[in-house]
């Protein structure tokens, strides 16, 4: 059984279509990440699932029950917000128990549940404090606890880590992953951070302009992006794109021609202009060049050392290109470097539709 199903969901504000005929089935216990740049409709979709926004068309099912017209509190969801949204005048305990009191739960049961949530999230010593006296990470834990005590089927996260500094964000990311392992609830997580998406998700839905571009496992999205947008969005630094064309001898980019025998295409490749994509980390350097199908020498125009790696900016076949080198290799700007390309690491996209070939 699917935990959450969104069927044919549309949302318009007047003439503006914010979400367009979305269909998503989320499995029981799955961690789904909605990923996209700002304004793509990912938070809007989450708000629709939560029942905080009325949809224009379609249906939403949670645990097989049609909740399209239900109030947020009746849907069996808990939500965690970017700004934490803790009630400032209530203590941590008050924040955790507010939802339960609204549901007129007996006091004994409330204190049992609050105690359990406090234990899981390790916020026991903070229960009597006001939110103002908590750090960002502690506040976010309380916000998660507020969803936890209600014993819901589905957790909804709306960019929960965006307000935290980089180090804390990395720590809480791991904690969230452990929490998911422990609770085994269905979780839907909205973010614009691809690292969060790749590390947390069982599946990622990449959204753009209110529609889903690709819904797949993280490695599938990374290795076989369905179109140029997804290819460009996922990966940091992002993919290099070049103009090319497919002819009798293979793929031609500028004055370079290489064989594409190893490329796994979805359909038979026609002789046509294409967009060629290659990830900076998939350009072979050093000892790997020997195994590459095509190799050449390029000039390192600019270096961006990042410790473990060095990002090298260069020109390749008339196109700007970046590639990644081992950070320990000594290299000067203006020096020549040998690089190699292999067809299995290339991504070919139709020049017009920008769909993967």
């Amino acid at each position: 059984m699917h935990s959450v199903s969104v069927k044919d969901l549309s949302l318009s504000f007047g003439p503006v279509e914010v979400l367009q005929k979305l269909d998503i089935d989320i499995n029981d216990g799955e961690f789904l990440v909605l990923l996209g740049s700002s304004g793509c409709g990912k938070s809007t979709l989450l708000n629709c699932i939560a029942g905080l926004l009325d949809i224009t068309d379609g249906q939403i099912f949670i645990k097989g029950r049609n909740v399209t017209w239900d109030e947020p509190s009746q849907r069996g969801i808990g939500m965690v917000f970017q700004s934490y949204a803790l009630y400032p005048q209530m203590s941590v305990e008050g924040n955790l128990s507010f939802g339960l009191k609204n549901a007129k739960m007996p006091a004994a049961e409330i204190s049992k549940r609050v105690g359990r949530a406090a234990e899981i999230l390790q916020i026991g010593p903070l229960l009597k404090r006001k939110p103002a006296a908590l750090s960002g990470g502690q506040r976010q834990r309380v916000a998660i606890g507020r969803a936890l005590v209600r014993d819901v089927d589905v957790f909804l996260f709306d960019e929960p880590l965006s307000n935290l500094d980089a180090k804390l964000r990395a720590d809480l990311r791991v904690e969230l992953k452990q929490l998911h392992r422990q609770l085994k609830n269905t979780m839907i997580y909205v973010t614009h951070d691809q690292v969060e998406a790749m590390t947390l998700a069982d599946r990622i839905a990449i959204m753009r302009d209110g529609s889903i571009q690709q819904l797949a496992k993280p490695d599938e999205i990374y290795n076989r992006p369905v179109n140029r947008y997804v290819a460009d969005f996922i990966g940091s630094p992002s993919m290099n794109f070049m103009q090319g064309s497919i002819g009798a001898k293979g793929l031609t980019i500028g004055d370079v021609t290489l064989s594409i025998d190893g490329y796994k295409s979805a359909t038979k490749l026609a002789k046509d202009d294409v967009i060629v994509g290659v990830r900076p980390e998939h350009v072979a350097t050093g000892n790997d060049v020997a195994d590459a199908v095509y190799c050449t020498k390029v000039t390192a125009d600019l270096l961006e050392p990042m410790g473990a790696d060095t990002l090298v900016w260069t020109k390749f076949a008339g196109h700007e290109m970046r590639f990644r080198m081992d950070g320990q290799v000594r290299l000067e700007e203006g020096q020549e470097v040998e690089i190699g390309l292999s067809p299995e690491n290339l991504h070919l996209f139709d020049k017009v539709t920008e769909e993967r070939l």
């Binding site: 905080l52 969801i77 939500m79 949204a85 507010f98 939802g99």
Partner: protein
């Protein structure tokens, strides 16, 4: 490091205590303060003088013989028409008008502002525009129609009629105040409360109002000063036995028979102005802060 030469800049920058710009600023401020405080000074010294001394006409001179007789007379025994119980009657009338008016108008306006800020129902903007339009209607235009309405519902001349009028006329600005304040609160808080199963009233009372102390204080100040200082509605919609303090003051000062008792008039005027004055002194800072808080986001 080389040795720090004594002449070189080192440590905190020295501040000059006396400069020309400072001199100009403080002189101007002092003169303006004197200009604005002079009438108050005249009122206070006059109210402490005896009538023979007032007749000498030296308005700026200090009283030779300090007396609080005028204050007692203004409060307790000054006559208006047949009543000779001074301002005290007006004071209690004003309190009876003020308290329910302030409570009622703030209670209704906070719900209005909450609904307009968070529950964006169909036509909310139109309703808000119409409500704001009410702020621009001059009182005089509405004066007689309201007399007719109050007469028809049987509240003309009743204190409660005046309470209702004050509440209605306070509604546009108070609703605007509350709406803007609530709009400035994070919407996620409202969403979280909805997910937590709180309804319309519970969100307002348990979540939002406890965070609204600054704006409630502003609303109280606005209403207390506005209603206390009102003269027009008070004189039109109530009967002489329930005239508010301002109307009572006017009647004392404008009594046509006998000698003008300037010392009593001054004392009566200060007494009437005391309530708003105290409110301003106690909460002046909060007032400015609250107005600013409501005004940032519209």
């Amino acid at each position: 490091m080389a040795d720090l030469a004594f002449k070189d800049a080192c440590g905190p920058r020295p501040k000059k205590a006396f400069t020309l710009p400072n001199f100009i600023i403080y002189t101007t401020l002092t003169l303006l303060a004197i200009y604005y405080l002079a009438p108050l000074y005249v009122m206070i010294v006059t109210s402490l003088k005896t009538m023979p001394e007032v007749r000498l006409g030296n308005v700026f001179s200090l009283p030779q013989e300090v007396t609080i007789e005028p204050w007692i007379k203004a409060w307790a025994t000054a006559c208006t028409g047949l009543n000779c119980d001074g301002l005290s009657r007006g004071f209690w009338n004003s309190v009876q008008i003020l308290v329910p008016s302030v409570v009622l108008s703030i209670a209704v306006a906070s719900v209005n502002g909450y609904a307009l800020a968070f529950w964006r129902f169909k036509g909310a903007n139109l309703l808000f525009t119409i409500l704001l339009f009410g702020a621009f209607i001059p009182y005089q235009v509405m004066l007689y129609p309201i007399v007719m309405i109050l007469r028809d519902i049987g509240l003309y001349g009743d204190v409660w009629g005046l309470v209702i009028v004050h509440s209605i006329f306070g509604m546009p600005i108070l609703t605007l105040l509350f709406r803007n304040y609530f709009s400035s609160l994070p919407e996620e808080l409202f969403k979280a409360a909805r997910v937590d199963g709180a309804g319309f009233w519970r969100i307002l009372i348990r979540v939002l109002l406890p965070m609204s102390a600054p704006i409630v204080v502003v609303a109280i100040i606005l209403q207390v000063t506005g209603i206390w200082n009102d003269f027009l509605f008070g004189v039109v919609y109530t009967r002489p036995e329930s005239y508010p303090m301002t109307v009572q003051l006017n009647n004392i000062v404008n009594s046509t028979f006998g000698e003008k008792e300037y010392n009593v008039n001054m004392a009566a005027t200060i007494l009437t102005g005391l309530v708003p004055l105290v409110v301003y002194f106690v909460s002046g800072k909060l007032f400015v802060r609250g107005i600013a808080a409501g005004a940032v986001k519209g």
